[in-house]
């Protein structure tokens, strides 16, 4: 491939130089990495920040009264403050570090679900949830008798707000837990409107921002929700760290999720008292190096600017829509008005796994299967799954063209 096209104010070529892995070849072809929705590649700045932490300023946090531990504690808390700014949270104490989005949602399902919600109440999820925002609620339902309701998704792949209103109507819903951006359809959901509807019906709102936080500027105060979850590794940060933003008033009411060190203020043989939020929810040694990495990743994307990143992605999405819509025999899943850089598709004459093997031969990395969203694929009658191309800030229009050409040739191959 030749040099990437430069969007206005956004120098993709220079950005790509920050990602060491992108200069690789795969089976003799330049790597075309279109699986950032599963996990994004890492910029040198983030990698170096983690190495620097380990080489110069590493010790356990919140424990030692010595220089290194104080430094590490300061870095860990600075990461919390950076996440708070990134989400426009009102207070850094609203930020709880977890191991992943999955763990963040499980924390809410256990702690808020079992500690605050009551039998007779209901939780609403949507048909387009990632299993991470579905299975924990099924487990809650099976444990407690709390009802689980599914908000429908329209044929275009948007959340059916009329159905949401219907699901909220009886006033029994205690929590609406929905994605802020589908990892399959690319649909960005109207978070503010969903929150307003839920609150009017007396329900709290959890947004799964695993995808959205990467593709959109998120302002939790403007959205007005109650919980927001995202993960570090999709945001060009390390694996092993996730974030739960939770309003302090909810944290106060919620019992701890896991017990251990660091989450207590007093322990005797008989009992323990919980530390104040958010420490109450961070039992054990936290992901310290990962927090430093996440901080660096947030600095990296905010230096580029989320608006510039969104504009670049909008161009890519429009281009991909045009190119992919032109391919004979290709079904695109989801045609939402507001969407990010995630495209799931199926060819009429190739199983997704065969197709992804072919694309791999061309150096193109896409994901095949049901992308942890089995009910959604059933909803669209695609039980065999789809292939999914998902973009990162380093994705170029040439890569989209290369994918489109490869898909056309793949269809010929299987004919």
């Amino acid at each position: 491939m030749d040099g990437p096209i430069l969007s206005a104010g956004f120098d993709v070529a220079r950005i790509r130089q920050d990602f060491p892995i992108l200069s690789q070849t795969v089976r003799g072809k330049p790597l075309v990495f279109l699986d950032s929705g599963a996990s994004a590649q890492k910029p040198r700045q983030m990698i170096e920040a983690m190495v620097r932490c380990m080489e110069t300023a590493y010790a356990n946090v919140h424990r030692g009264a010595y220089h290194l531990s104080e430094q590490a504690t300061e870095a860990y808390e600075a990461a919390r403050a950076a996440v708070a700014r990134f989400l426009n949270a009102a207070d850094p104490r609203e930020i709880i570090f977890t191991g992943s989005s999955t763990m963040a949602i499980n924390l809410v399902a256990h702690s808020y679900g079992r500690g605050v919600l009551r039998p007779g109440q209901a939780v609403v999820v949507s048909e387009m949830e990632h299993h991470a925002n579905l299975v924990p609620w099924q487990m809650l339902r099976d444990d407690t008798g709390i009802e689980l309701r599914f908000c429908r998704v329209t044929d275009a792949g948007e959340l059916d707000l009329e159905d949401l209103a219907a699901k909220l109507a009886d006033g029994k819903v205690g929590l609406v837990a929905v994605t802020h951006m589908s990892n399959v359809l690319g649909t960005v959901t109207p978070a503010q409107r969903i929150t307003a509807m839920a609150h009017a019906a007396g329900a709290k709102v959890l947004l799964d921002g695993s995808q959205a936080a990467v593709h959109r500027q998120v302002d939790v105060q403007a959205i007005g929700a109650d919980f927001y979850a995202f993960t570090g590794h999709k945001l060009y940060g390390p694996t092993g760290i996730g974030v739960l933003w939770a309003r302090l008033e909810h944290q106060e009411r919620m019992p701890p999720f896991m017990g251990g060190g660091d989450m207590i203020s007093l322990v005797t043989q008989e009992r323990s008292e919980w530390a104040p939020p958010p420490a109450k929810f961070e039992a054990g040694t936290p992901p310290i190096i990962e927090a430093v990495g996440l901080h660096a990743a947030i600095d990296y994307v905010t230096a580029i600017g989320m608006p510039a990143l969104e504009a670049h992605e909008r161009q890519l999405v429009d281009h991909a829509m045009r190119r992919l819509s032109d391919i004979e025999g290709l079904t695109l899943l989801g045609r939402a008005q507001d969407r990010g850089g995630v495209f799931a598709f199926a060819l009429d004459n190739a199983h997704p796994h065969d197709l992804s093997t072919l694309l791999d031969r061309a150096g193109i990395a896409v994901r095949a299967g049901r992308h942890c969203a089995e009910p959604l694929h059933a909803r669209f009658g695609l039980e065999a799954g789809t292939c999914r191309a998902s973009f990162g800030l380093y994705t170029t229009e040439q890569e989209v063209d290369y994918l489109a050409d490869a898909l056309t040739k793949a269809r010929e191959f299987f004919t």
Binding site: H353, L358, R361, A368, E383, F413
Partner: protein
């Protein structure tokens, strides 16, 4: 762009993938099993009719999956017909070796023609993530043979 993939997707694979043989449900099957590959969603039901002396009189399957898994099941049902359970299991052991390594050191000794028939699938060994697609049918066959009449056994290639 994809010429080197003809090793994996040989014409016989594409043919069996598009038009799998013995693709039906066997009524009154003596043995049956369901095979699942939960990672990729491949799923099949396998049905066997046995003779009183333990030969496989008929083998058929139904299911959905990629070209590799469908072709493998199709070729397997053709290959095991007329074999004893022990021979079918031996074929399965050799086939799994072939799929994982691309070679079959024992293939000169007995059942050589049968293994020759399965040879087109040997290209899968170069694609570690796809080996399970090729072996699912054979795991399912083992489960069926280990079962009892009327029992639906479960197999997984995970």
């Amino acid at each position: 762009m994809f010429d080197d993939l003809r090793d994996l997707y040989q014409e016989v694979i594409l043919d069996h993938g598009r038009k799998p043989r013995n693709f039906r449900r066997l009524e009154n099957a003596d043995r049956s099993a369901r095979g699942d590959n939960p990672m990729c969603g491949d799923r099949m039901g396998l049905f066997l009719k046995l003779t009183p002396d333990g030969h496989i009189a008929d083998a058929a399957f139904q299911g959905r999956g990629c070209a590799i898994s469908m072709a493998s099941a199709s070729l397997m049902t053709e290959t095991v017909k007329g074999k004893t359970a022990a021979e079918a299991e031996e074929l399965g052991t050799r086939f799994r070796g072939l799929a994982m390594t691309g070679t079959c050191p024992d293939c000169g000794t007995g059942l050589a023609d049968e293994m020759e028939r399965l040879q087109p699938l040997s290209g899968v060994h170069e694609y570690p993530s796809r080996v399970k697609c090729a072996t699912l049918a054979w795991h399912t066959l083992n489960a069926a043979l280990e079962g009892t009449p009327g029992e639906e056994r479960m197999a997984s290639s995970e």
